[in-house]
Amino acid sequence: MVNKIAVIGDKDSVLAFKSLGLDVFFAETYFDIKNTLEKLAEDYAVILITEQAAEQVDELLLKYKKKCFPTVIPIPSGTGSTGYGMNCIKSDVEKAIGTDILS
């Protein structure tokens, strides 16, 4: 099984990934991000989404967490990390163990 990777986010952050040959989609508003994500979820195995965008569609990402594909991963944008990705790990640990024992 061969599959594709997509990147969603603001133009400045995601354009760089075009140089790797990934499929890049610009979306900044809530509805843009939501629609793009829903459309891409069917064809792509991995979707990289900037943390700023991920924060806006948080509840939609929860839905994809339960399924094997697509794998939606928050990445920091050009302006730096907001800590969203780290918080995701933290909440996973809290969910599984009850308290964040790793930090």
Binding site: K18, I73, G78, G85, M86
Partner: protein
């Protein structure tokens, strides 16, 4: 704890005893499963944390370089350069089974991962070259992060589900069954005693005549 609404018969009793046995065994198995899942999860979560920290640091470096390059180059040139690079990037996707959880595995051929810079250097800022290079180096790690993070997500959800099952068995199902079994045993014993005294009474009545 409420007891089940069943008839106090021997048949019901043996049925409930069988159920209790299954429930206890299931509880033990699920508890073992939960322990093992948590153990694996902790290993993965630790790896996830260090990997994410690394990837974020490198990625921010690469993206910052890209922003600088973008500022130095006129945007039509930049877009032209980006159009030239090989498109249609694909990875191999398979799944593996971790404690009954289907988790994805991504792999990318080293040959595919390594991209030579396929554009003219004349009009391109050197920051751009560097950022593309860093980006393609960090990419393999990024895929690994995606794999581990997804596995963690799914394991966490599965662990939570499993814990609910264990708790339901431990605190609802098993006490309920035990109480019902006790109730039926008492009831049957009581009937037995009632029967015995009745027989004794009848016997004395017959003898006394």
């Amino acid at each position: 704890m409420t007891r089940l609404n069943v008839n106090a018969t021997r048949m019901e009793l043996s049925r409930l005893k069988a159920r209790l046995k299954t429930a206890t065994r299931g509880h033990k198995l699920l508890k073992d499963k939960s322990d093992e899942m948590v153990r694996r999860f902790i290993v993965l979560a630790k790896e996830n944390r260090t990997l994410r920290r690394e990837v974020e640091r490198e990625l921010i470096g690469a993206l910052n370089g890209f922003v600088i390059a973008k500022a130095l180059m006129p945007s039509p040139v930049l877009e032209e350069v980006l159009c030239v690079t090989d498109s249609d990037f694909k990875i191999d996707v398979s799944t593996r089974n971790i404690m009954g959880v289907e988790a994805p595995v991504f792999s990318v051929d080293d040959g595919v991962a390594y991209k030579s810079l396929s554009y003219g250097f004349a009009s391109v800022a050197s920051d751009f070259d560097e950022s593309v290079e860093t980006l393609s180096n960090v990419f393999v790690k990024l895929l690994k992060l995606a794999e581990i993070e997804k596995t963690c997500n799914m394991l966490a959800i599965e662990i939570e589900k499993n814990r609910r099952r264990v708790n339901a068995l431990e605190f609802v199902m098993i006490p309920q069954l035990e109480e019902t079994i006790k109730y039926i045993t008492m009831k049957l014993d009581e009937n037995e005693r009632g029967n015995l005294t009745r027989l004794m009474k009848v016997k004395t009545m017959i003898n006394g005549k």
